[in-house]
Symmetry: D2
Subunit: 291 residues, 4 copies
């Protein structure tokens, strides 16, 4: 069983996972492309920082990657060298296609691959309350089962790579579409001078009560981002691409992705993704003042 | 106080309201553009059917309209004649603009106007469990308060016409966007062979539990429609227009409306609106066979 | 035959038409909602300015309206009083629906109606080189044929109201879609550091040579607007609505309209509509600076 | 200088190129994934068919690939083995990203790479009237200059890989957007019963005269496809991806791509891409009959 683990990527999610695993008794070594972030995390969380990826994975049984996107995944994977017995877990939200490509590549290096995207943010990870969606053959998954279960509830989606990635994109597509829809609905309220709190209280009495409770306040205020506009743009785009890759039509993912792309282009890529409505109003105002 | 009420429109919603009000002791007279429907309802619900709109509103204190859309509302309203003291309640989902136009027109005829769109379907109406959103000056609303409260919980949105219509569109925009997002997410699952029941069970653990409970089964099966693809197309388009009328940008309503428009064009306008996913698959298959 | 004509709306198009008609020997009286504009035009073009719409149409055989949109048309039309024998020509770009509504309303006032939208900008109008698309019964069109022919080539589209408006929207939909496509293509060039002049020289050798000649320079520079972002947003939206009104799906008009709506929201509503690319880049920069 | 050339891909474009080059005195060997197609072309055009890719490129100085898309390009490239001195020309429409990846990969095999997408269809290729857009360092391009010039006018876009691919996508984005706009405009005409020939005659007098001349007839009839709905879907999607890859927003490519994706899903992927309007009407009818 795994006792030593490398966390690849010391961003929001990687940090949450590193803290959790350290607190549960794992020996954690962190590697991050930009070294300072790994070192800061190491100091704060009492874990080790590795100077290189090779160093990070030397002597661990598993690596757990929380990097941004397909490119980051493929870039990390292509830096790995033969390492028999290692299990590489990809917990980033990527396209099924990229995940399958990573699996094929690692096969050639004797590295086992687990596709394990996560539902839940950095806080949920740190509290061990995330949902971990896993796709992998049994032999690859078995050694990391206890490890992944520390992060939250483990759901085995399938043996075939791509299935967990698809399920994660299906979930995020639903969430992001819903939140952009919420943003547009708030614009309607504004356009006609309707009280937003009244809307929220009505949502409370419908199937949207959970959503309103969790996101309404965050949609109209300016919270510290746990998930950014840039990542939301990417995820909606990946939903689009996942469908395109299999010759399926797209329904709204393109529009959702475009909303986030426009916000990114205006300089809001690093802001909290729930604030679509607030950012759009700011953009409008900003543009008008600037003009 | 109102004791006699004309229900204008004997469609799904009008029928639900007529049954409810009759069961609560109101004297209900129903008028419908296509006469047969009114007569059938009259027989079934033990209410009266009027041969003309004029006949229907003669001798009632209030008229409650559940017609399709802006055009239907304006067409009905323009057939009314001077009728001092009557309160005309519009419970259709219309644009704020059409509702305001109706109010202005009725003012000239001495008829009071209440904008009162409804959240909840025909079943909820009939059980008195809908949410009735009302916008009107106090003097117009007061006489119909008890009547409207029979249909469910009454929420006063504002004194100004347009506000309740806007809130209703904001709600439907959120719901329709979410359901189209759900449809697209189901396509992703299909494209990668992921079990839909697993997805549903994951939604149960998130803010989407209410949504999954109410709509998941309906999204994949073939239920009797309570709300149709055509009406969904209209509502998403009205959200779009409500924003356009005030010079606001649109985020996803155009894409949502377009999905429903494409389904309508393929002949699915009368089907249940939750079945986006199922209808799209059928369309794909149909087109392919036909080709 | 018409010798005296009222021009309704002293905007860009109304001004071009007034100058042209005055130079061709018509007695022109101008009315504009905002009076100053009418008076300025009267001074510059040597025509008369009327203090009210009633005054403008008293004593003329025809009125020629170049107002912004459906609302402006219906507002102007609803201010008219009985005026037997007058021909009212609507040269604004409106929906078929609004044009048909105007025709019906004017019928009740004994006023004949000609739907006559125009292809070509203010300059073309002033030089008599526009294309005037006309829909009206022969009896209404006959008296204004010479007048309209002064503005350019007259094309009779049909006897039924709505057909010329539809043809105009079909044309503008094609033009606006093409120009937004051009804007997006320029973004692609920018994103990969490709010379825009090279692209233009390639377009010269294709079916786009006419387009490149007329619009390329204007797309990348900052010209005085002859047609604005706001009007473009409106026209693409009207194409969308014209299709929706007949239950047809939309293909790209929603996306085109949304691009212009977003630019309007950012404060660019009054800028030249060809500059999509330039404005988007400015918006990006603006947002980023402001942030 | 090149005298012997391998044409990779015996589809529409590859066939056109093979015929042209054979007729100009080159020794052409054709390879195609599905062997029969290569053999048929060999018989018809009097060229050689190779049994394997390795066989095809053994003994030629240059290979010219006309395969479908990014995946096909990367699949072909990854089957190549060390082959010093060979110049591999990619004439497919691919994303800049895939082209750059191909270049990097071939570098490791001692193969020179030229990115050379083409404007113009199979007929133009066969007559030597295409426009060949080239991006490559001078040393790679020089040996194939005479060869590529046989296909039409050669335009050097830049030294950097990606630039010609971007220019090609910019062109196709403009063309496809315009043609979908044309399709939507034809729907508007239909919806209001306007004569399509009249519309065409008006386009003749505008910047769209070239477009109308080349595509109008094809848009309303049922021609043998020279370029398919599937490839159009791909190209619009690649325009979208090219922008996304550099963090740029998308304006209409998503909508254009979606129109073609929906048509593909309905079974029209192999039809002529200009017939958007005709296919949509057929889909509508088909769906309705089937329902
Ligand atoms: N935040 C959330 O709530 C959730 C996020 N996710 C997913 O988890 C993943 C990580 O998200 P999050 O932690 O929020 O993102 P952050 O932006 O906080 O962190 C991104 C990490 O990826 C690294 N990275 C980016 N590009 C490369 C590259 N080319 N090579 C190596 N490393 C690279 C970054 O390194 P550097 O510091 O050098 O830039 C950084 O460590 C994403 O796929 C996201 O979609 C999933 C569920 C929830
Ligand atoms: N510009 C162009 O190149 C072309 C324009 N068109 C169409 O012609 C029409 C006019 O365009 P253009 O001249 O450029 O627009 P402008 O914005 O320059 O002028 C608009 C005119 O409409 C008037 N107006 C707006 N709202 C109302 C109202 N509610 N009641 C009365 N008058 C009103 C304005 O009056 P006020 O001054 O008081 O605001 C002004 O006179 C539009 O429909 C446009 O789409 C068609 C072809 C080409
Ligand atoms: N047609 C046109 O007018 C124009 C086309 N283009 C571009 O040129 C390219 C070719 O288009 P066109 O000839 O029309 O397309 P076709 O569909 O006629 O031919 C496609 C070719 O690609 C081959 N192919 C597909 N996938 C693979 C793969 N994975 N490995 C190896 N070969 C593969 C096919 O082989 P098989 O027979 O085995 O399926 C076939 O030879 C495309 O990129 C297109 O966008 C550019 C300008 C104009």
């Amino acid at each position: 069983m795994v006792e030593r683990v490398a966390v690849v990527g010391a961003g929001r999610m990687g940090s949450g996972a590193a803290r959790r695993l350290a607190s549960r008794g794992y020996r954690v070594v962190v590697w991050n492309r930009t070294r300072e972030k790994a070192e800061r995390l190491a100091r704060e969380a009492g874990v080790e920082a590795a100077g290189s990826l090779a160093e990070a994975i030397a002597g661990v049984e598993a690596a757990l990657a929380f990097v941004s996107d397909d490119d980051a995944l493929l870039s990390v994977v292509s830096q790995l060298r033969r390492s028999d017995g290692l299990v590489f877990v990809n917990s980033a939200t990527t396209t099924p296609r990229a995940s399958i490509a990573a699996a094929r590549y690692l096969e050639g290096l004797g590295i086992q691959y687990v596709e394990a995207p996560v539902i839940g943010g950095p806080g949920a990870l740190e509290r061990g309350e995330a949902i971990v969606l896993a796709a992998a053959p049994r032999s690859a998954l078995a050694p990391v089962l206890p490890l992944l279960s520390e992060l939250g509830e483990l759901v085995k989606v399938g043996d075939s790579y791509g299935t967990a990635a698809a399920l994660k994109l299906a979930f995020n597509n639903l969430l992001l579409t819903t939140l952009v829809g919420l943003g547009e609905s708030l614009l309607i309220l504004d356009a006609y001078g309707v009280d937003k709190a009244l809307f929220s209280s009505i949502l409370e009495r419908t199937v949207f009560s959970g959503l309103a409770g969790k996101y309404f306040e965050r949609a109209v205020s300016k919270p510290k981002p746990t998930f950014t506009v840039s990542l939301a743009e990417k995820d909606a785009r990946y939903a689009f691409q996942a469908l395109a890759d299999r010759g399926y039509p797209r329904l709204v993912s393109h529009a959702v992705s475009n909303v986030y792309a426009t916000l990114s282009q205006m300089g809001f890529g690093g802001e909290d993704y729930v604030g679509v409505y607030r950012l759009l109003k700011k953009a409008g105002a900003g543009g008008r003042e600037e003009h």
